[in-house]
Symmetry: C2
């Protein structure tokens, strides 16, 4: 196997920068969130506040579950609920100077990890895809 | 770094067996597919035929995109379309005797891989989570 140097890389070198990350803002309703998810093609995206600080994560399963009635999914409820009522607000975050090695264990349970700077401003995401590419290049016989 | 023996493991030893995989059948409409996705909590699941052979993959992005009109998402269209009209029918598949190493490159672009036996019957899935756990245990300083 190759050396483990790639494990010491900084996540900031590998992340998708915030300007390329689809997201929604606090105050948006679930109809808007579902449109952003649908048009971006992603199944889960960050929720940010006006200062670009991370507040949580919204996903299509979360949106659908929030409007799931006893008999059917109640689509007319979408514009009646805000993202903050439904989002998952307990998500892990990495500091920009974290290493790839520290991200591996978290990526077991999370398809992507949000990265913030020292001011807790959201700066980007590290995806499973990026880390798997790195591993595929470095873990061979 | 540890030895690369884990790369030689058989995917069959690591897969989630078919009886535990949420799926839909050909002929189901998108309303049924969305309910299965919502209740299972998964964002993408296999589509099988009556002989349990793999036909494609259906996901919430695919469902939403299929009913996305010019102005809004048209939810009343959900029971008007069948999974076969919308599903992604060109997905990779692994044979049950494939190794983990052969799956790594495919998992870069696919969150999970469908596994079939020699009769092309669907037998299970290999997820990124499983492989990341394996890598996390074997790739350390
Ligand atoms: N437009 C596209 N082009 C090419 N491949 C695509 C794609 N959309 C999805 N994929 C593939 O599908 C995987 C799962 O995407 P998902 O949206 O469920 O899950 C995504 C999504 O929730 C989030 N994500 C990734 N890129 C994002 C972005 N630019 N903005 C917001 N969220 C993003 O991170 C998760 C993991 O992403 P990852 O790349 O590891 O894994 C992606 C990627 O391999
Ligand atoms: N009920 C649950 N309990 C615990 N963790 C959960 C969970 N549902 C989702 N997750 C976490 O979220 C990741 C993405 O799930 P997703 O449904 O988008 O994407 C899933 C889904 O499309 C599919 N999948 C996984 N297990 C499945 C199953 N039993 N039946 C059908 N599809 C499955 O494989 C993809 C990748 O799964 P993976 O495990 O790597 O990654 C999962 C897992 O880490």
């Amino acid at each position: 196997l190759h050396s483990g140097e790639f494990l010491e890389m900084n996540v900031q070198e590998l992340m998708i920068p915030s300007e390329r990350v689809a997201h929604v803002q606090l105050g948006n309703n679930l109809e808007h969130a579902l449109l952003v998810l649908t048009k971006s093609g992603y199944t889960a995206i960050p929720v940010l506040d006006v200062h670009y600080r991370l507040q949580g994560l919204i996903s299509t399963p979360i949106v659908m579950d929030a409007i799931l009635g006893l008999q059917r999914i109640e689509f007319d409820q979408l514009d009646q609920k805000k993202v903050e009522e439904a989002m998952n607000s307990s998500i892990p975050r990495l500091k920009a100077n974290s290493t790839v090695q520290s991200s591996l264990a978290l990526l077991i349970d999370h398809p992507f990890l949000c990265i913030e700077d020292d001011e807790e401003v959201f700066v980007g995401i590290l995806t499973r895809r990026t880390v798997l590419q790195l591993l595929n290049n470095n873990v061979r016989r």
